[in-house]
Each structure stands twice: as C-alpha cells, then as structure tokens.
Symmetry: C2
Subunit: 404 residues, 2 copies
C-alpha cells in the first residue's frame, strides 16, 4: 500500500485505492451503513462503513477506494474501507468536537486544552497565530533584521521593578525577564536591526481578560533612525505582513498627537494617559474620518513613558513615542529611545550604578534607535474578535492557572 | 541629501555624493590624511579625512563622494567627507574590535558582550545561528508543520525531576520548563506536526564547556509515523536546511545500531550508554567508512531513555530512539514515543496520577509519533569548531554567570 493521502488531496485520487489516517471525527449510523468522518491535519474525509464504527477520537488508518459523490463533503467519499485502529480513545471528549460551534465554556476549553484544541474552530486560531509570526519574521528578514535569542533569566528587576517572578538561581536570587528591551537595544549596537520572538513574563496580580503571566512578545529594534516615524514605518510593514488578508492595513496609518487626541476627546489638557474609553472613541474616529482600523497616537507625555524614552526635541514634556490602537484597543507600544550615554546618566541620576550592564552599550557609542513590541496573543485575539486573550493562547498561565 | 547608503552598496554609487552611517571601526593617521574605516551592518567603508578623526566606536554620519580606488577595500573610498558625530564613545572598547582576530579571552568577551559582539568575527557567529534557525523553520513549514508557543512555567518537575529552577508563582511553587516535550506531544493530537523554537532551562550544577542554564531548543514532533526512521528522515531534511552550505549532509545519513556500535568499539555488550570517547570513535568510523560527518546511533537501551520512549517491538530492551553524532559529539536526541494510553499507565504505574495532564491527550487517542530536539548553541558551536558552547551564545547563563 502506498503512502498516506491527506483528506484535502482525495479529489485528485478518484478511482484509486488509498490509505488515509486520522481521528474519528464523527459517526452517523443509518439503516444499513455508517458514515464515519475522519479528521486529519488537512481536513475531513467521509468513509462509508458497513456495520459499527469506533468511537469519536479513535485514531484510525483506513484503506479504501476514492469514489466521487457530489453530495459528500469535498465531492468524494471512501468506499470498501478496511479500518485499523492505531490507538483507542478511552474517554469521550469533554464536549463534542464535531459540532461546527464550540459548545463549551472557556474554563472547560482551557482545563481540557490537549483535546479541546482539536476542535477545528479552536485549532484554526493557532494556525492564524502561526501565520502572523511567519509574517512578522519574513517582513523583518526582508528589511535586513537579524533574529536573536536573549536571556529570560536576569539578575535584577530594574526595568519595571514590580510584577516580576523571582527564581532560585544556584543559591542566588534572579528574575524572569519582563521583556528583551535592554538586550535588543544593546544588540542594535551589534546588528543595527534585530528582532526576537519569545516568551516574556509578568507577575500580573490582575485577573482580567487581557493579562497573562506569560505571553509571546514580537520585539523589534532598529538603529540609524531619524525619529520614531522610521519605527512606525517599519511597524506598518510588519502589520501588513501579519494581517494575512484578514484586515486591511492602510498604506499610511493615520496619526494623531496625544495633545490633539485630548482636544478631540474634550478631555483636560493635563491628562497624562488615555483611558480605555478614550482609546475606543479614538479608534471610532479613525474609522469614521480615515477609514482605518488602525490609529497611531504619538507624543505621549514623558511622565508616563519608561526612562529610556526619547523626548520630542520640539515639544518638551512630550515624547517621540507612540501607541498603535487597533479596533479600540492598544495593540503595540513603541518609540525612539535615548541613545547618548550622557542622556542616560542624566535621567537615571543616582540609580545609574544599578544599570551598569545596560549602560555599557551606550558608553561605547549607540546610534539613534527605536523599536516596538507586539503581543502575539493580543494580536490574534483582536483579529478573531475574541473577548479574552486566553482564547488565543494554547495553554494560558495566569493568577489561577498553571495547568495543563 | 538622499537616504543612507550601506557600505556594501557603495561600488554602485561611484561618482555620487552619498550619506553613510556607522561606527568608527579604525583610524589610521598618515602624514597628511587620516583613513577612517566606518563599519555598518553590511560591511566596511574607507573614508579619507583631512585632520583628526573621532575615536573608535564613535557613531558617525558621513556625507562624501564615492571615488573608485582599486587599492581601497571594496574598490571604492569616500572622499571630501563631512563627518557628523551622532553619539560619542565615552570609553575605549575592552579589546581592539578592528583586528581581524579576536584578541581577548572568553571571560573578557562575555563580561563585555554588548560591545565585544560588535567584532565582525563574533557578530558573524550569530548571523550563522540566525540562518540555522531560518533553515529549521523553512524546512518544517514546507513539510506541513505548525509553529507553536508553549508555557515555560510549569506546575511540576515531573519530566526529569532534578535540575529544575523553582519559581515563586503567586504564592505557589512552580518550575521553569526543561523542554516542551509534553506540550509538543499533546499538540501532535491537534496539528499532527508541530515545532517550537524557544528557551529551555536546566539548573545544571556542572561548570563545563557544554552546559548552559538556558539554551534555545529547536523542537519538532510528528504524528502518523511508522517508527523512528520517519523522524530521522525529517531530521535529515532539517539539518540540510540548517547547514547553509557549511557542511554536507548526506542524502542518507549512515546508521548503526547501539548493539553493533558496542561490538565495533570492543565494549562489553551490557554497557547501557556511550561514553564521550565512544562517540568520538564512532564519528571517526562514520567519516572513514561512509564519508559522513553525521552518524545515527539507533536502538539505545530502554533503561537509559525517558519513560515515554517506544520500545523496539523486535528487540525487547532496545528502543526506537536515536542519537545523532556530529563531528564526535551528540548533537540531537530523538525517537518514537509511546502513544497508547494503556502503555503509559503500564510504564508509569503508581506515578500515573502525577502525570494527569500529560495523560489526558493519550486518553483521547494519539497517533504513533516521535520527534527530536536540537540545541541551537551546540549546533552553531559545532559548525564553527568552537570548543565552548558559550562562544555561540549571545549572553550565556550558567552556574556563575547571570550578567550581562
């Protein structure tokens, strides 16, 4: 018997005897025959069986004849089958995997992820996520970026201080990295343009639909920029590569300065940040006025940005940074960073010694640079219209969830 | 002034006025002029300057005329330059970055990684590493694999028990994952074929040239295999994609059974494992007899393999697993796994309850499957002929090293 044929390829084998393999997705018993739908990574195949069929999720190999049948899914079905069980399903699934809709609550799905994710609609989310990462990388590869892998175990919690996980590290105290920020900046000094796809860790004590203890961060950083607009231009390219035809990324993503955004919203001019309701209203405005699902808000007040943020030379108090809003929510944060050693010493003041390793790169000459970070799960959830970021996470980790 | 031109592209601009930017790589003062070599991500450019030049590693922008000069590197040099400093280098590098050889010890390189890695020879290692990862992914994408991202924080240390890092996780105890093994197996049930590129963590108390506390694991797992040979065939494809012309991967990697290897070595037939000296001798044999730098050793005794290893149905006591030796060292471990729920219950016995989440996938039907894991740093070090795996790690983490 020749090699395995995938379900999606069966129409090219009409009349032939083939071998397919997969899971029993569904059984339907009629008077004289049983229709068994077999699921593999490519799709579904209908097998016409005499007599009883094994239960759902049994792993089977089927040798059979490919027969045209316009009423069968895909226009073919498998007849005269010989079915061999490769592995038994000793328990029924926690909810029916064959129904088009997912008939289970989010906790049920997450508790039973190893089997729940087999549902074609759940599985498809993560195929989308994989395509987004592929688009992120291929865009940046094309633009001359180098992929890097940096430590997830760090010596100090200096970047943000709070919300870090502590580790016992050979009798010392260490921490899980909250972002590759410091490393990717140092690596601009080596490669000019770098990216990393990897886990980041946040000991978020918040039990919300948006927070995870681990998520996948898509980080990029580039040198020899004029200002944050060069970073925004690269981000626009990256998003177009990640969208995979599911959403239109305009050639020019509209942009509004933070101060103008407050005016538009009728908010007090000294508001230091945007509230979620503000972000939703700004997104609606961008859709209405510019026909865009994306909006850059630039020039956030320095007071609310991290210490390495580059100020706007023309408007002290405001920064060369941006947030990208997508469908009413902040999706990406980025901007230009400080690059002169003296500027870092000035902003860090007495804290400078604690940042010794970080400052080393700047002591040896660093170009004007900037970057951004995209949360993969948040991006996928937003593309899918999912309310909870856990719906776009294979095995979420949060305040309450450490398994499966 | 038009946009920046990279050093490597200068020969296409002879006669034109251009803008380049980069680091002062080297200064050479002659009687009347100074030759300044500027380094950017593409290569080097020679600038002919009247008068003094800024110190090495200063970040500069140079506007100048591209002039043909057969004696200059690349056949061109930059004349009539206007040099602008973008950022000062306030300290000299820990060792000269412009010498072709790296004139520094490994500890010096690692202590000063943010600047040391700028040395073109050191930087090149990580371009090679990035190319290897790209080859790993593109091969598996072509073969229908799906990329996944799995938790690095896990609830129990069940896979190997020892050498795990403990984490304080919201008042509970958790651990850093030593491998994505259990997750990738479960995901074979979802996608059939999966891979992951990500950090793994080993609390190795060994201070050797081979051990890191964090390394980048290239993991793959595939379902619907006949046995471990289908896994070896995929691995062979992957290696060919990763080799990037630096080493020849034979169409058929030679293979020797563990029992035959012991005979060849004149070792007692009850040896449970291969010693490093054995691996070196077997590699030499493969090169001599088969002209191959790679050798599969198959059929390792079950006693020395993890509990999920599939036995060889024809030779009890031996397994359907393999190691891949490359230039005298073990580079990859892989094999077929158990896939029947009952087989797992049998090997785990009373420990089965501790593996509840892992066993869930098998209770719901799992196909015959197997996989492998490649340590990225080890692969790169071996390709480079580097004696220490730290030479292929940007910022190593080990027993003694937690910074930079």
């Amino acid at each position: 018997m020749s090699s395995r044929v995938l379900a999606a390829d069966l129409p090219r084998h009409v009349g032939a005897r083939v071998r397919v393999a997969g899971w029993v997705h569904r059984r339907r018993r009629l008077k004289s025959v049983t229709f068994v739908v077999v699921r593999d990574r490519s799709g579904l195949a209908q097998v016409v069986l005499q007599g009883a069929a094994p239960p759902e999720e049994t792993v089977v190999e089927v040798q059979a004849t490919v027969t045209a049948n316009p009423r069968a899914p895909g226009g073919v079905e498998l007849t005269s089958p010989v079915v061999r069980t490769l592995a038994e399903a000793v328990q029924p699934p926690p909810f029916p995997l064959y129904r088009p809709e997912v008939d289970a609550s989010l906790p049920t799905i997450l508790d039973h992820a190893p089997v729940a994710l087999r549902h074609p609609a759940l599985r498809a989310r993560f195929a989308l996520s994989a395509a987004a990462v592929r688009g992120f990388r291929s865009t940046l590869d094309r633009l001359g970026f180098t992929e890097t892998h940096t430590p997830k175990i760090v010596a100090s919690a200096t970047e943000s201080g709070a919300n870090v996980f502590g580790i016992e590290y050979f009798g010392r105290r260490a921490y899980l990295a909250q972002s590759p920020q410091f490393f990717k900046q140092a690596l601009v000094g080596v490669f000019e343009r770098v990216y990393e796809v990897g886990p980041v860790f946040r000991a978020e004590p918040h039990d919300t639909a948006r927070h995870l203890a681990q998520y996948t961060s898509l980080d990029a950083e580039l040198g020899f920029i004029r200002d944050h607009r060069d970073v925004m231009a690269v981000l626009r390219e990256v998003l177009a590569g990640m969208a995979a035809g599911l959403v239109t990324v305009p050639e020019e993503i509209p942009e509004i300065h933070f101060a103008d955004a407050l005016k538009l919203l009728g908010a007090p001019p000294d508001e230091p940040d945007l509230a979620p309701a503000h972000e939703r209203r700004l997104s609606a405005w961008a859709r209405r006025e510019h026909g865009s699902e994306f909006l850059f808000v630039t020039g956030y007040p320095m007071a609310k940005r991290p210490f390495y943020t580059h100020p706007d030379p023309a408007r002290p108090g405001y920064s060369n940074s941006f947030d990208l809003l997508f469908r009413g929510l902040e999706l990406v944060t980025g901007g230009q960073r400080l690059h002169r050693h003296a500027d870092y010493l000035a902003v860090l003041g007495d804290d400078a010694p604690a940042y010794r390793d970080y400052l080393a790169a700047f002591a040896h000459g660093m170009p004007p640079h900037g970057g951004f970070a995209i949360g993969l799960e948040r991006w996928t959830a937003r593309l899918l219209g999912a309310a909870n970021v856990r719906e776009a996470t294979l095995f979420p980790r949060d305040l309450h969830r450490l398994t499966p």
